[in-house]
């Protein structure tokens, strides 16, 4: 993947986080907005939130690490490690999301 594509995805996921993360905070913290959690859209948006936030986090970490350790080989190692960590956390998170919101 080109570097510019990765960064475009970084910005797109940033906006997705802005929307779904706000939903997450409002539904969980504001009294009177608990009904959001009873809709079907809420777990779906939280799945999007999980994927977007993990991509955004891992790409942000990658940008920092690639800048601190320049070079194409170290860049590849960093990318592979962070992709694996991201996928592991996504699978974990999705499983937990299904545990919490499943059976309804």
């Amino acid at each position: 993947m080109k570097e510019s594509t990765k960064m475009l995805l970084h910005y797109i996921t940033g906006f997705l986080i802005l929307i779904t993360g706000a939903t997450h905070l409002i539904a969980n913290n504001l009294v009177g907005f608990n009904w959001i959690k009873d809709t079907l859209w809420y777990p779906m948006s939280q799945g999007v939130f999980l994927a977007a936030v993990l991509y955004h986090a891992m790409n942000g970490l990658r940008v920092i690490l690639v800048e601190l350790f320049p070079g194409s080989s170290s860049g590849k190692i960093i990318s592979i490690i962070l992709t694996v960590v991201g996928i592991i956390f996504f699978v974990f998170g999705l499983y937990f999301l299904l545990v919490i919101f499943g059976g309804r």
Binding site: M7, Y11, G14, F15, L18, N28, L50, V53, L54, A57, G60, L61, I64, E67, L68, F69, P70, G71, S72, F89, F92, G93, Y95, F96, V99, I100
Partner: protein, 142 residues
């Protein structure tokens, strides 16, 4: 490419003297980002392993957890608004048109609307910081 291209490493973040305010924002964006990542990963594991099996609502664990949450709120707000500014600057919405380099050369990307956006980010940050401190005092029970 070799290592020597970034000799200073992470210490380069501390070099703010002689740089514009955007350098400070850049460093703050990175530090806040790393802080959010640490919270995010522990939050996923914490909620998933401790709260998901019993379907309880997540509560920040103890007074330290709440204090961490207060700091997290501040840095998330900063990261969000500065991130929007960075996207606008990246795709050229606020950096202005390139100009001929005549003597008192003023970079359009470091002045005008971009600089205004920096001040706007800082202003919104300070305003929300104030309200957040009020909420935090309530939350911490002071």
């Amino acid at each position: 490419m070799n290592r020597r291209e970034n000799k200073l490493g992470i210490l380069g973040w501390l070099k703010l003297r002689g740089y514009s305010i955007e350098k400070l924002m850049y460093v703050a964006q990175r530090i806040s980002g790393v802080g959010i990542i640490i919270f995010l990963l522990t939050h996923i594991l914490n909620v998933g392993l401790v709260y998901a099996p019993t379907k309880e609502l997540w509560e920040p664990p103890g007074i330290i957890g709440k204090a961490v949450l207060v700091i997290l709120g501040i840095i998330v707000v900063f990261h969000t608004f500065n991130g929007v500014r960075l996207i606008l600057a990246e795709y050229g919405f606020i950096v202005g048109k390139p100009r001929r380099a005549v003597y008192p050369y003023k970079m359009t990307s470091l002045s005008g609307r971009q600089r205004l956006a920096v001040y706007l980010v800082l202003a919104v940050f300070i305003i929300i910081f104030y309200f957040w401190i009020m909420v935090a005092f309530n939350l911490l029970g002071w």
